[in-house]
Symmetry: C2
Subunit: 189 residues, 2 copies
């Protein structure tokens, strides 16, 4: 677990072993069983979560009581509700494990202390946040431009074995198509 | 101009006068006439732009040759194409002034040099990028949940006098409704 986060962190900025130890010492690990929640809509999200292994979804419940999936996330991704984390407001989304999932998490105040003692972390999280921004902007643009079929293939190419790992109705929810239409797309592929 | 950017920067992190001078020395200013482009789709976006005064739109041309507005931006906002800026790839969007607009801009390599000499800037841009991420996520969620009418009112409440500053067809493009439907919304308000 420590090796994995070390490799990940050093992709962006290079940290000494002492710094890695200091960062790692602030992280907590947990294993979530399938279907367990990391965060419930309405809670304040005090943590950033790093996925060591597994798969989670971010979703909310819409007006009609339907689940609307906004993101799937896998190994080596950070997940959080950024707004709730920063402004300490109730989260507008839930985060749920769709497989047994191993998570490292860092509390907001611990991260703030780390920023003070290892300022290079500011750079790391600036770069990570920029990448998240790029990802969300690309997805938005792609979603406005592409057909449902192209969106489906982009999604399954992005996350290995997604179609085997996640129920079809959740993929349909993410793509904003009906499960029937998704099944048409898959049949014609 | 210097006072405005100083006030803005000190909102996030406090900088000494020397640091402000060093940052300001790296910025270039320009005035764009109405309809002039800051960035054309296909160009590499080497700058981050800070709007001192005026209003710009970010847009692209879709399959059918229609303009699709993705953002309006005003005073004290940074605009750029983040992906193009970071990865040095051709921009997928254009940025155009919709009023006479005064811009401060910083080149990518100058910003990198500033990060080295004033590491607090990493914090500043981490915080700014987090706020951009919050804004885009909120907009996405709101757009999935809200009616066209609510989206219209949210937009005009966010940007002072937008309805007077921008042609209606651009607002319709941003809201993803027809100009006729936008005119219905406005009539019934």
């Amino acid at each position: 677990m420590k090796e994995q986060i070390k490799t990940y962190l050093n992709r962006y900025v290079s940290f000494s072993d002492n710094e890695i130890n200091e960062i790692y010492g602030r992280l907590s690990s947990q294993t979530l069983q399938k279907k367990k929640f990391l965060l419930h809509e309405g809670q304040i999200c005090n943590h950033k979560y790093f996925i060591i292994k597994g798969l989670v979804r971010l979703f909310y419940i819409d007006f009609n009581g339907n689940e609307k999936v906004i993101q799937f996330a896998i190994e080596n991704w950070w997940v959080t509700n950024v707004e709730s984390f920063i402004k300490e407001t109730p989260s507008s989304i839930s985060i749920q494990a769709l497989e047994e999932t191993i998570i490292l998490s860092i509390k907001k105040n611990e991260l703030e202390e780390l920023y003070q003692s290892i300022p290079k972390l500011e750079r790391l999280f600036r770069l990570i946040t920029e990448n998240m921004l790029i990802a969300i902007q690309k997805r938005n643009e792609f979603y406005m431009k592409a057909s449902s079929k192209d969106r489906y293939y982009s999604l399954i190419n992005n996350i290995p074995n997604l179609a085997q790992r996640v129920p079809q109705y959740m993929i349909a929810s993410y793509l904003d198509v009906t499960p029937e239409y998704l099944s048409e797309i898959r049949k014609n592929s």
